[in-house]
Amino acid sequence: MTELDEYRGRKPAWCPGCGNFAILKTLKETLGEIQLRPHQLTIVSGIGQAGKLPHYLRCNTFNGLHGRALPVATGIRLVNPEMVVIAVTGDGDCYGEGGNHLIHAIRRNVNISLFVHNNQIYGLTKGQASPTSVESLTTKTQPFGVLSEPLNPIALAIALDCSFVARGYAGDTEYLKYLMKEAVLHKGFALLDILQPCITFNKINTYQWYSERIYRLEEGYNPSDRINAFQIALQWGDKIPTGIIYKRDKPTMEEKIPVLTEGPLVRQPFRMDKIVREIENLIP
């Protein structure tokens, strides 16, 4: 496939068998299918195993700080709404360190697709609990098991009326591709939480564990009913729904900013001559 060649990046430094490989491959296929050329896309990522993804792909890349992908992505979109922007983060990255930015990115509804590689663990730092870790997990820093309740990102996003809320699974790449495509094509902030087995550190939420529980939302599911979506969002345990759980169309922040109606700021010329009157205005 030439599509995939076009996106070929550096050699991944992930563990063989890691769920991230499937996500990477699916993303490349998605980009190929929606015919997005590498230079039309910027991936902003945080720090963690997930955050390394853009290096393994060809695209504009800002691999920033742990937890801070969304503000960078926002800054990019607000000055260049023609750029497609995907934020790639880990669960610790996005729901831990970066939790505040997630809340406010959803409120802004900037047109960013956020992919969270949710392996329910801190991978790169060797296996501490993440905000989505289950309570039975014990680690070196949680010797008595996790004492906090796991965060439900889907419910959180629905509570904030996020314009697109979906869950995918690295073990179901066909469906994942569909979700990625919808997320990228969706106008507005799209959260795609991707369950991703970490074969090295997460011995609880394994491929098998997920496979026994994951199901796709049935055809005809109506993602616009917020209350129902919230109910679905609370499902976790025996059955874990994947699919577009909630969706709502509304104007993006870019559309609401008056100065952007004249095109992306990156291409608006700077006119110093116009500003000179500001000095005159300072004369009382």
């Binding site: 990046g9 550096r10 050329r37 590498p38 230079h39 039309q40 910027t42 902003v44 720090i47 390394k52 853009p54 290096h55 060809r58 695209c59 504009n60 890349t61 800002f62 691999n63 920033g64 700080l65 801070r68 969304l70 503000p71 960078v72 992505a73 926002t74 800054g75 990019i76 607000l78 000055v79 260049n80 023609e82 750029m83 505040n100 930015h101 809340i103 406010h104 900013i257 008056p258 100065v259 952007l260 004249e262 700021l265 990156v266 608006q268 700077f270 006119r271 110093m272 116009k274 500003i275 000179v276 500001e278 000095i279 005159e280 300072l282 004369i283 009382p284």
Partner: protein
């Protein structure tokens, strides 16, 4: 002629309206003006003041002595009466203070009563008070009337005319009743049309003129004025201003915007800047240009949130993990703030580094009269590789090794070339690496190659006063005005000069301009700082080995005022140097 008017009262009583209008009026009359404000961290009540000084010769600081004290409440009289000048007067409304003062320096004007009578509402008392001040000064009403019309135009003719009558009534009441007023304000043709500007506006204006297209920040006194100013012009000049959820987001958004291809800025005070430290380091390793305004207030932590101090110098110079170049400017006047903001944007983009403007509450909120800025002196050069020029490049590498350490800064999306950068150490293409060799080369590029060039761009300190001074007053940032006036005052009696630093990092080189000689030859060098520990003196020693012979520090959250600093300097210069 040199008069000081101090308006004191509670937060919410309209001090800023009176002060702001009087400032305009004096400037319209052709006077030089300096104003400064001190206010509490509350919205109503407490005690605030607004102090104006105007003169027929240039002035640039506040004095302790007050010629007219406009007392909007009793507390103002109690707090500031002692500072009245020889012929100084207090104007007040005994109905408000509930206390009548009989000595002759008091002028009791029924502000509220007149306001009610002439304007139909006691809220116009400020207009009355302003009129009264002008009456006491014996100035004509023309400029005041003009200003009132401008200010209230939007509110309709009736409000304008009511204000005009209230103003007039206040004016006439003062003229009639203030028999003891001995002020003589000359009629004066404006020497030229001067602008009136404060430090925050100067930075905001400098940003506009430097092509800043993105400003993200989280509100924080005393830096918020910069955001307000830029936001008020955003629609006109095509700028996106976004209030971030926190300061971490603010700097990361600005870095995103800069990466995407526009000039971007953020601002805060010390506590907010503290949250940007990791982002500062990110800007450095990704070589993403960024300008940051840090408007100081007294710390640590929340400290005195509306007061002034110069205590974040070493903080902004050395903060951030890892090693990287930055520039740090510490403007002393709105004029310096304006031009240095422009220089900050230029150097940030030219060398792809963070540039920090370190201001403080005193500079931020002080109004100065100045000659209109000369926009010819500004530089604007787009250092980015964009559009056609980018398309014509064969191979593009974001962090290319070049002779001078500066790599081409391309705009993503403008061509098929990919722009890749990383907070991890990376290779020329921007991809993460771990090998020792590339690492060392990148450090050489970022630090040693670039820093040598940046150093050449830094200007030496301003020296003012005697050419071969016995005493040198060393200062930096917002103390410029008061120190300069001290030198003016003392020059007749002694050999004295000011050495003011406004570009402190990289520290000005002595090779091209050996300013240290002046210090070494002086008998006495006094480092004057609005902080407790003498941070600039420390820096000077670290950078040049020179140790000032004396220090004057103020650290109670208040700025230096003329007489006090004059006294302090005099007492030092009277001593023999041992």
């Amino acid at each position: 002629m040199d008069y000081t008017i101090k308006i004191g009262g509670e937060a919410g009583q309209g001090l800023q309206t009176i002060g702001g209008i009087l400032a305009k009026v004096f400037v319209k009359h052709g006077f030089f003006l300096f104003s400064h404000q001190e206010y509490m961290s509350r919205i109503r009540g407490g005690h605030n003041f607004y102090q104006l000084r105007f003169s027929d010769s240039p002035i640039m600081c506040s004095k302790a002595e007050v010629d007219i004290l406009v007392a909007l409440n009793l507390e103002t009289i109690e707090l500031h009466k002692a500072k009245l000048s020889r012929y100084g007067m207090v104007v007040y409304d005994s109905k408000v203070t509930k206390k009548r003062f009989h000595s002759e320096e008091f002028l009791d004007v029924p502000f509220k009563e007149i306001a009610l009578r002439e304007g139909g509402t006691p809220l116009m008392e400020n207009t009355v008070a302003t009129g009264a001040v002008l009456g006491m000064l014996g100035m004509d009403m023309r400029s005041y009337e003009e200003t009132l019309k401008e200010v209230f135009k939007k509110k309709g003719d009736e409000i304008v005319s009511k204000n005009l009558s209230a103003a007039k009534a206040g004016y006439e009441y003062a003229v009639t009743n203030c028999l003891k007023c001995r002020f003589t304000v000359p009629r004066r043709e404006p020497p030229s049309r001067m602008i009136l500007i404060n430090g925050n506006e100067a930075i905001g204006l400098g940003a506009l003129f430097s092509g800043c297209r993105f400003y993200s920040a989280y509100p924080m006194t005393p830096s918020t004025g910069i955001m307000n100013y830029i936001a008020s012009r955003a629609a006109e000049y095509g700028i996106v201003v976004e209030q971030a959820e926190d300061e971490i987001s603010a700097i990361n958004m600005a870095l995103g915007a800069s990466f995407a291809g526009v000039r971007a800025m953020t601002g805060s005070s010390g506590g907010g800047f503290a949250l940007m430290v990791e982002g500062l380091s990110l800007g450095a390793i990704t070589e993403t240009p960024i300008v940051i305004a840090e408007v100081q207030r007294p710390g640590p932590a929340t400290g005195l949130p509306t007061r002034t101090e110069q205590a974040d110098l070493l903080f902004v110079l050395y903060t951030g993990h890892g090693e990287f170049p930055r520039v740090v400017f510490v403007p002393g006047t709105p004029e310096q703030a304006f031009y240095l903001t422009n220089k900050a944007f230029n150097l940030a983009e030219k060398y792809q580094i963070p540039a920090i403007l370190l201001s403080d509450q005193y500079l931020a909120d002080s109004q100065w009269t100045m000659m209109p800025f000369d926009t010819e002196r500004l530089k604007y050069k787009d250092y980015r590789l964009r559009g056609k020029r980018l398309k014509n490049v064969d191979i593009y590498k974001r962090h290319l090794f070049t002779d001078n350490g500066v790599s081409p800064l391309a705009v993503p999306g403008d061509s098929e070339h990919l722009v890749v950068t990383d907070s991890d150490e990376h290779d020329e293409e921007g991809h993460m690496i771990e090998d020792a060799e590339t690492r060392a080369k990148m450090v050489n590029k970022r630090i040693f190659k670039k820093l040598a060039l940046i150093r050449e761009e830094i200007s030496p300190p301003t020296v003012y006063g005697d050419k071969t001074p016995e005493t040198v007053l060393i200062c930096w940032g917002s103390t410029y005005g008061v120190v300069k006036e001290v030198v003016d005052e003392l020059s007749a009696e002694q050999s004295i000069a000011m050495m003011h630093f406004s570009e402190v990092y990289p520290f000005p080189d002595t090779a091209a301009n050996d300013y240290l000689q002046i210090l070494k030859k002086a008998k006495r060098t006094i480092c004057i700082e609005n902080n407790a520990t003498g941070q600039f003196a420390y820096l000077l020693k670290a950078e040049t080995g020179f140790i000032p012979s004396d220090k004057i520090n103020r650290y109670d959250g208040r700025p230096f005022v003329l007489e006090e600093l004059l006294e302090a300097v005099k007492s030092r210069t009277a001593q023999e140097v041992t």
